[in-house]
Every structure is written in structure tokens, then in C-alpha cells.
Symmetry: C2
Subunit: 373 residues, 2 copies
């Protein structure tokens, strides 16, 4: 189908860029000597994950149990749910684990281990468990410098129903960096913190099969990953305006965009309005620490080939997107279409029931992201 026949607003994925991005990270993983377990939360589409994994290892990372179900159905056999286990979903997770080769669950607290053990007893089923470690992001994870980290790992390793799978961390504080030079120390910390803890655990006699790290910024920058077994970047397959702003990618590598139609023109305000607002674009504030005036995405032409990155998507209401800049009403007229490269691909993609895969100005595939939890 021709691109022009799509109703707007809608989400487009540039298939050439997506495939190049997928190949790029696969090559990096190979060069770094680690396994790639892409995080599928970015797109929630089996068809995209198929392009990310190697035939030898059909493993992915998921953010929700709904994703886990859908990717199990899609033939992905080794799943890591990289989210602190909600006790009220433990039974469902254990039931799902029976359907795949492995479903690794994530904990960082004694109460979660307790809840998981109780669920294992209820279901008569074992669980594979990763201990989440805080490598400086200060979101989730145990402090690796404490005795508690060792005690929790020991507790899991000693539990009859639990198999201690290893350590998992996420250098999410890389998103606070302003450029690749600032990402580098985060990437090093993400690696060093978890490798050091793995060594401590092994010295204490605990087997640590998996040492798992990863975010897109750190994995684009990190120079070596000795001691790490796998990486879990996700965003890289689409990229977005935020990643470009901090140096993870070029804007020309961003594979996702929202196609919109110009519905209003206000020359005296140097402004047009498009029919992509807070729902179609999502309202992630973007890389304001790099570019305080970044707005809600980067404008490009309808064919995606030319950036108008001097324009600013300065306000979003539910369905209105307001775009300001010199000569904007000469560049885009009512009825014209344009694209917006969103600030945050993962959240923007999740707004859409369908992603349209585009190659050479034609829609060649239509994908349906997993919804819900």
C-alpha cells in the first residue's frame, strides 16, 4: 500500500533503518563477546524481534507479563522479565514458565523472594531468578556494596524451589548524559559494578551463570564487556529524538516516526497545528538537559527524507500538536503531511495499535504491538 493512503495520525517504521539498527547492535554484541537479548518493550512486536535475535538464541527481554505471553506464543523460548516481580502475578508467571525453555524473573527484595517461594509451593513449580543490582541508576536494584546483596543471592541460591540465575542491572542513568563522553563512565560502571558483585558471589561459593547489563546508550558506547554474559538494549532498533540528542545515534538512524496531517495554519503565530497530539506522540518531555527547548519531537517531511529540525513541536494537547518556527506556514500548508520523530520511541509506539513498516514509500508490513499488562 502506498504511504499516502494511510490515515493519519499513524506510526511508521522505516524498515531499512530498523534492519540496519538491528544488524548494528548484533554486530556489536558479537564483537564484545556477549549474547544479545533485546528488550522488546520498545516495540512489543514479534516481527521486529525476529529481526533482532540470532537463530541460535531466541531470547528476549520483556517489561510486562502480557509481552511474555505474546512472545512465548510467537516462538521466543527464553524470556527475561526485567521488572521487579509483582507478587500478585507470580503464579501466572510460573504457569507461563512451563510453556517456554526459560522465564527468568527479577527480584531485589526479601519480600519478593518470600512471595515467589510461596507461589512456587502453590504451583508446585520452580523459578529461575535474577537479582537486580543498582549500578547507579537509583531506580530499582540492591546496593551491590552491601552485605544484603550477598545475603539475598545466598537466600535465592539456597532456596529449594528457586534457581539463582545471576545478576541483572540497567544503566538507566545514561539518559542523564549529554554526549558519548558522558555515557562512557556510566557504561563502565554498569559493567564493573555487576561484574565485581558476581566475583564476590562466586568467591562465596554461589554459581552465577548470567551477568546481564544493558541500555541503548551504554551499549552503543561501551568498549569492552569482560565478565558480562549478555546485553539487553531495546530502544536501539528504533532509536528516537532523545537518543540522537545524547549521541546514541544520528537523527538519520531514527526508524520510528508519527505521520500527521496539517490541520491549521497561523502565520501570525509562526505556527501550524497537526493532528498528532499527546496521544499519538506521547508527552515524554525529551532531552531537556541537552536542549531545553527540544519540544516533543523532531519534524521531518512526509517522506521522511528531509529534517526540519529548526521547527519546534512546542505544545501537545490530547489531539493537537502545535509546531512553531520561521516560515513554518510556507513550508507546510493545511492538508500537507509531515512526520514527527518522537522523543521516546518506546512510549510513542505503545500508543498505537498498529505500526506500519515502510520501505521505498510503500507500506510493506503491518504489525500489532502487544497491549496491556
Amino acid at each position: 500500500m502506498d504511504l499516502e493512503r494511510l490515515k493519519t495520525p499513524c506510526a511508521l517504521v522505516d524498515l531499512d533503518r530498523l534492519e540496519a539498527n538491528a544488524r548494528g547492535m548484533a554486530a556489536r554484541a558479537e564483537a564484545l563477546g556477549v549474547r544479545l537479548r533485546p528488550h522488546v518493550k520498545t516495540h512489543k512486536c514479534v516481527e521486529i524481534a525476529e529481526r533482532q535475535v540470532a537463530p541460535s538464541f531466541r531470547g528476549v527481554t520483556v517489561s510486562t507479563l502480557a509481552e511474555a505471553h505474546a512472545f512465548a506464543d510467537g516462538g521466543f523460548t527464553d524470556l527475561t522479565w526485567a521488572f521487579p516481580l509483582p507478587p500478585d502475578r507470580a503464579d501466572e508467571a510460573l504457569d507461563l514458565a512451563r510453556r517456554v525453555d526459560a522465564l527468568h524473573l527479577t527480584v531485589d527484595h526479601e519480600a519478593s523472594v518470600d512471595a515467589l517461594e510461596r507461589a512456587c509451593r502453590r504451583r508446585g513449580a520452580p523459578a529461575s531468578v535474577l537479582l537486580e543490582v543498582d549500578c547507579g541508576d537509583r531506580r530499582a536494584g540492591v546496593d551491590p556494596s552491601t552485605d544484603r546483596a550477598l545475603r539475598l543471592a545466598t537466600r535465592i541460591a539456597d532456596a529449594d524451589a528457586l534457581a539463582f540465575r545471576g545478576l541483572l542491572t540497567h544503566g538507566g542513568h545514561a539518559y542523564g548524559a549529554r554526549n558519548r563522553d558522558e555515557i562512557a563512565p556510566v557504561a563502565a560502571a554498569e559493567r564493573d559494578v555487576v561484574v565485581r558483585l558476581a566475583t564476590r558471589l562466586r568467591e562465596a561459593g554461589i554459581d552465577v551463570p548470567e551477568v546481564s547489563v544493558g541500555s541503548t546508550p551504554t551499549m552503543r558506547v561501551v568498549d569492552r564487556l569482560d565478565g558480562v554474559t549478555e546485553i539487553r538494549p531495546g530502544n536501539y532498533v528504533l532509536f528516537d529524538a532523545f537518543q540522537a540528542a545524547i549521541g546514541s545515534c544520528a537523527l538519520e538512524e531514527v526508524a520510528i516516526s508519527i505521520l500527521a496531517t496539517v490541520v491549521g495554519a497561523y502565520p501570525e503565530q509562526r505556527k501550524v497545528i497537526v493532528n498528532a497530539g499527546a496521544i499519538a506522540l506521547s508527552t515524554d518531555p525529551g532531552p531537556t538537559h541537552v536542549a531545553p527547548d527540544c519540544g516533543f519531537g523532531v519534524v521531518a517531511t512526509a517522506d521522511g527524507r528531509t529534517l526540519h529540525d529548526d521547527l519546534r513541536v512546542f505544545a501537545l494537547s490530547q489531539e493537537h500538536g502545535q509546531i512553531r518556527g520561521d516560515g513554518v506556514t510556507d513550508r507546510f500548508r493545511i492538508g500537507d503531511r509531515l512526520r514527527v520523530l518522537p522523543n521516546h520511541a518506546c512510549v510513542a509506539a505503545a500508543q498505537h495499535d498498529r505500526l506500519f513498516a515502510v520501505r521505498d514509500d510503500a507500506v510493506v508490513e503491518t504489525w500489532r504491538p502487544v497491549r496491556g499488562w
Copy 2:
């Protein structure tokens, strides 16, 4: 079904509050002598709109053509698409108009009128047209003080295929107010600007059947609506943390909440993590002009009866919601549930495939909001 059996995160609607909110605005409309045409973008559910409209007038306001289709299917016979007409959806709109008593379209630019006239010729169909007026919000709409407003109205009124329905405005700048006293002049302007223009048009010989205004804040505050024919508030039926902050409602009137489970506890950070992040809650920054530290919603107990409004939902990532405050890990433990009253009901509700209507701690109805565009 018992509330406890719901999977989290999920969206709850307190049915008693919703029905009270619906009755409240219906009574206000009656007292003010105007017709109520609720904006259904807030919830996108036919079942909620049924509780908002009077038997005598099944009219609603929609923000998307997808809503228009669904509400036409649901037996709503008089629709206003209160969004600047996208020329590439004009034909579809005209086709839909044949299925209902009326579908009023909105324009504020000559180019949109041109496009609509061309579509009318293509489809051999007429169109009912509202002229959008800027009452100070500076989003969309013509400047009512200009000759252009008169020329555009004349142009529409004179066009063979177009029926000039009247004027539509939206006092969206009420959301910049900090309290009811600051909302009041916006409400007065919303009314006065459009009534004045209607008078000018009538003096020029143009029939102006409809003079339509409305936002939830202005309609909660406005004291009289002489010259106005209808109001289009939407948010009021759910309300949210933003509306409470600016004085549109009390927090105890907010009918929507997101139910979440505590998945992490970090006493040293005075923090818990819940499984409701940017997707489940949406990332509307909230009433930062009133409360700079408002965070991403207001915390309440799982039953919704007790507010913990000293806690702050200070950070959202895709699936993680981080909540900070004194004693938070004593108040909420891993596995406990809590509710978050979202900053922006309309965008939060749109994240969910289902809304669970709750009365007396039981789920009594399940609604499916319209999705897409």
C-alpha cells in the same frame, strides 16, 4: 467481580462519583439555560456518555473520527467533531454524516473550507460547519476581532454545499489558572468573545444557530451563559489531579484512578516502586504552575477511600512508577496495592483497553474505550 481479582496495573472508574459528576454538570447546564453536549474524548466510552446526556438530546462532542464512528454506532445521533478538519479525512466524515442526524465539522481557515467544499462535490453531500474562534487560548481558531472571522463565516454561509452551523470556542487557557478566581475571567471571556462575534455575524445577516463554548474549569465556574446555546465540557465526568489543583473539583470527586501493585521498597530512599509507569499513568506533567512538585498523580489506598497526598509520584519510566515520602515503606509494602489519581484523566484513560467501573469494591461493568483515530 471483586476488585482484588483485577490484574494490575488497570484503570478504575468510581461509578458513584462518575454518576454524581454527570448529574452535577447536567444540573449546571439546566440552571445556565444551555444544552449539554459532553466531550467524550475524556473516556471514549459509550456507556459513560449514556450517563451524561439527556434523553431529549443524544448529542456529544468527539475529538477523532474514530470516536465519531463508535458513538454513531452507539446511537448518538448528533455529533460535533471539535477538531480542525483534516482535509484527508473530509470524505470519510461526509460519509459518516449520512448515518446520523448531524455531524458538525470544525474549521478555522479558508484552506479547510476549500478542501471541505471539494469533498462535498466529490461525495455529492452537504456539510454542517462550525467556525472555531480563538477566545484567548491561542491554540486554534480565528481571531474574533478581525474582518477575517466575518469573511470566513460569510464564505461558509454562502457556499452551496455548506450549512453554517455557528461558532465554537474552547477556553483552554483556563488550565493556566491557579484557582477558581483566576478561572472566572477566562470563563467570562470564553462566553463574551463568542457571543459578541455571533452578534456581529447576525448584524451582517448571517444566521448563527449554535454558539458553543466549554471546558471543564470554565463550566464549573461560569456564572451566566446568556447568548450561548450549548456547552462542551468533558473532563468533569472523571476529573483528575490537575482539575483538583486548580479548584475545578475536590480530590474526593475524582472518579478515575490507576490501580497498581507495590513491587519494590527502598527505605533508605524513602521510596517504593509500583507497576504503573509512563504507559499506565501517562506522563502529563500536571499542575506544575500551582504545585511545582506535584509529580505524576495523587496516591490513595487500594480501596480509594484514603488519600496519601503527601507522597509524590516523582518519576515514571515505561513501567516503573517511583513514589517517595516519609514512611512510605511503612505505609505500603511489597505486594500491597494502591491507587494513583492521574494528572490528566483523558490521556490516562486512553492508555487502557478497558476501564473497570467499580461500586462498593466490586467491578460492576467493564468498558472498552475507542482506540485510534
